[in-house]
Subunit: 416 residues, 2 copies
């Protein structure tokens, strides 16, 4: 085994040893001081306002109004253009958010600790489906919901977690894979399981019955409620894989709606980028491919972990939602991903494949050698600001990210 | 198509058209007047006390004490022997209960209406796992839990259902099959889904927060909570299939721990019986095959509907729990059951088999012709009274039931 293979084996071992646990809820300003009264976090690698796509711009404007940085969406846009409002990549803050991934200082975040390595990762709360900020919507109902999440849901959930104690997420994710979730576009089971963990303590700590009813209804009505928690768990799992010398394993994949970026272990926090591709999938009634924005969000951290598109075989019911043809095609995706990874997961297994682990630890060498690209299940946002979700589909990570990363890796290894 | 095939096609059509809906909660004495202050309902075809197995006797004694028919278990046994306490088959009351299936007048029942045909079916509440009456346990904690279900859980759930309105069960069952349940030994997803339906209205109608916390914790902590509801839905679905002239489809399969009984459509409520077989499966730590009672319970109504063992391919995670070897074996069971049924379900499909319906409408002619027996996933009770569950496994319906039914059917058809 050469030094690269040894380093990659260490990466997979760290992934397998990870123990992501939900420990608390914090406000973004508490955990990421860089998120001050004029700074907004966004999904994907760093990007300038003028390069942002429509839904990302729409979300930035909405987030600025939500946070009180501007009174109107127009004022928000002006302030970003003049530099009065700053933009920062979530990953650099230890955070992740799906789609546009907006994070501002007043937003509550799930705090997930990797008990094995002691590191923390954070994600926003999931807003539900339809017109929501993560898909670029920014109307009054979007901001009202975010404010309710900040002022009612978060403080009660914080108390509930304090009452219940830390909630291990690995077991929930493993159970959900046996219940038809793939953990990216389908989190129905995981959302039910985390609601089951949270509701009894929430009942215990909540005196206001009307608040309790809205909170339980909100959590139960949101089939993607768990996605953001899964993303924080995935980031908490992948961060200790960073900076292993000679390691060619991908530690993050993320998209800002314009560019797709990856990080690899040996090269720390350097992004290797290429233009995002357009997902292929199914559109909600009234929308078509010409309405859709290309691939976006920090949520590809799920595929970085080895679930989502990688575990599609576990979720036959998601197949039609993302536009795949048959259960056989889903099995094929899950098998094919094994060709570009270091190995398979000990924790996340696919029962229908006789409990084989999901393909884990994407090796950029294998991606470039085989030409097989990581497959990602994703939501699709409308390309105009303020509209929201228009469908869901399957997209590939662009090859150029891996080629650029491999050149840089080879150079660092002295073999170019 | 001959008259039998036509009748059987009608049976399958009625199964497909069924719309089982949870409409209310009633006490057993209200809906089954035969359950008076000295009568106990039990699972399976009718049986005398002296022929009952250990766990069924244990449950009868416990039920008698719970209902106040006797002060002690010993007194209860005496009163049954002398005829002061009477025994009656649940199916004759329009009810079903898993394992021992005890029903007495004070017990709350789920009321399920088949909206298409207007008929009702009832089942008890699931008590959870471990030491519970359905597995023959009868200690003080068993009776205390039943009393709490009667006096706290049931009245609140009744109010919650009245507030929420009727809850369609078919969609929950169909969803659960896409979430890794087979609906007999694994109801994790369905239990989560029904809890999600019931909890928000329960929050709305419950003033006592301590009661609310115990109720939510109880529902959420019981991964088989939905089983009994599924059984009532299955009975409500199968009852309109009864009494179709020339129809050789099985409308009920049930076991009293001593005998296995089936009913077929053309012959109404006549039971065709044979001794129950011993399940093969996995035992909880400390138990082995020599501790187990043979097959028991009304829950084979699930396989009568075409789920449970018939839909094992939908539930790869249950495979190991019931002792099957591999995911491939589960697929094989689900495919094999198609050989003994009229067709496949339009409502209950198996995503991993490319959304084929589960095998539905067991035709006794095909069972006898092929020698393929219905496969049933089942829990296993300790053979002594008062102990409880010792494992779970797979069991076959005994061939003699089908041979006896086929003789009687042939005679009725004038072809013997």
């Amino acid at each position: 085994m050469n030094r690269i293979d040894q380093a990659n084996a260490e990466a997979l071992a760290r992934m397998n040893r990870a123990e992501p646990v939900l420990v608390d809820i914090k406000y973004a300003g508490e955990v990421a001081p860089e998120l001050d009264e004029r700074t907004i976090g966004h999904a994907g690698p760093p990007i300038r306002w003028e390069d942002m796509c429509g839904p990302m711009k729409g979300a930035v404007m909405g987030a600025a109004v939500y946070e009180g940085m501007a009174q109107t969406l127009e004022e928000a846009a002006e302030k970003v253009q003049t530099g009065a409002i700053r933009l920062v990549s979530n990953h650099s803050l230890g955070c992740v958010g799906p789609m546009t991934g907006m994070i501002t200082r007043s937003m509550p975040l799930w705090e997930v600790k990797n008990e094995t390595f002691g590191n923390y990762a954070y994600s926003t709360f999931n807003e539900g489906l339809g017109k929501v900020m993560r898909f670029g919507a920014n109307g009054p109902e979007v901001l009202e919901r975010l404010k309710w999440m900040e002022t009612v849901l978060a403080p009660h959930l914080k108390k509930a977690i304090a009452h219940a104690g830390p909630i291990p997420l690995k077991v929930i994710m493993a159970k959900a894979l046996a219940m038809g979730d793939e953990m990216h576009q389908r989190n129905i089971a995981a959302s039910a399981l985390i609601a089951q963990e949270l509701i009894p303590p929430l009942v215990h700590v909540t005196e206001d019955r009307a608040a309790l009813e809205r909170m339980t209804t909100f959590m139960i009505g949101n089939v993607q409620f768990f996605l953001n928690l899964a993303m924080a768990a995935a980031k908490a799992t992948m961060d200790p894989v960073k900076n292993i010398p000679h390691c060619s394993v991908v530690t993050a994949m993320s998209r800002n709606g314009t560019n797709f970026g990856i990080k690899i272990s040996a090269l720390g926090d350097e992004w290797f980028e290429a233009p995002v591709l357009m997902p292929k999938g199914l559109y909600f009634p009234g929308y078509s491919e010409k309405d859709a924005n290309p691939d976006m969000g920090d949520s590809a951290i799920m595929e970085t972990l080895g679930v989502g598109g990688f575990s599609m075989a576990a979720a036959p019911a998601v197949i039609r939602f993302v536009g795949a043809a048959s259960a056989g095609e889903a099995l094929e995706y899950s098998r094919e991903m094994q060709e570009i990874t270091v190995g398979t997961s000990e924790s996340y297994v696919i029962p229908i494949m006789d409990f084989v682990g999901t393909a884990s630890g994407i090796d950029i060498r294998k991606v470039v050698e085989t030409g097989i690209l990581p497959v990602i299940n994703t939501g699709m946002a409308h390309k105009e600001p303020g509209v929201g979700q228009v469908g869901a589909g399957i997209v590939k990570a662009p090859m150029d990210c891996f080629i650029k990363a491999l050149y840089a890796f080879a150079h660092a290894e002295g073999v170019d």
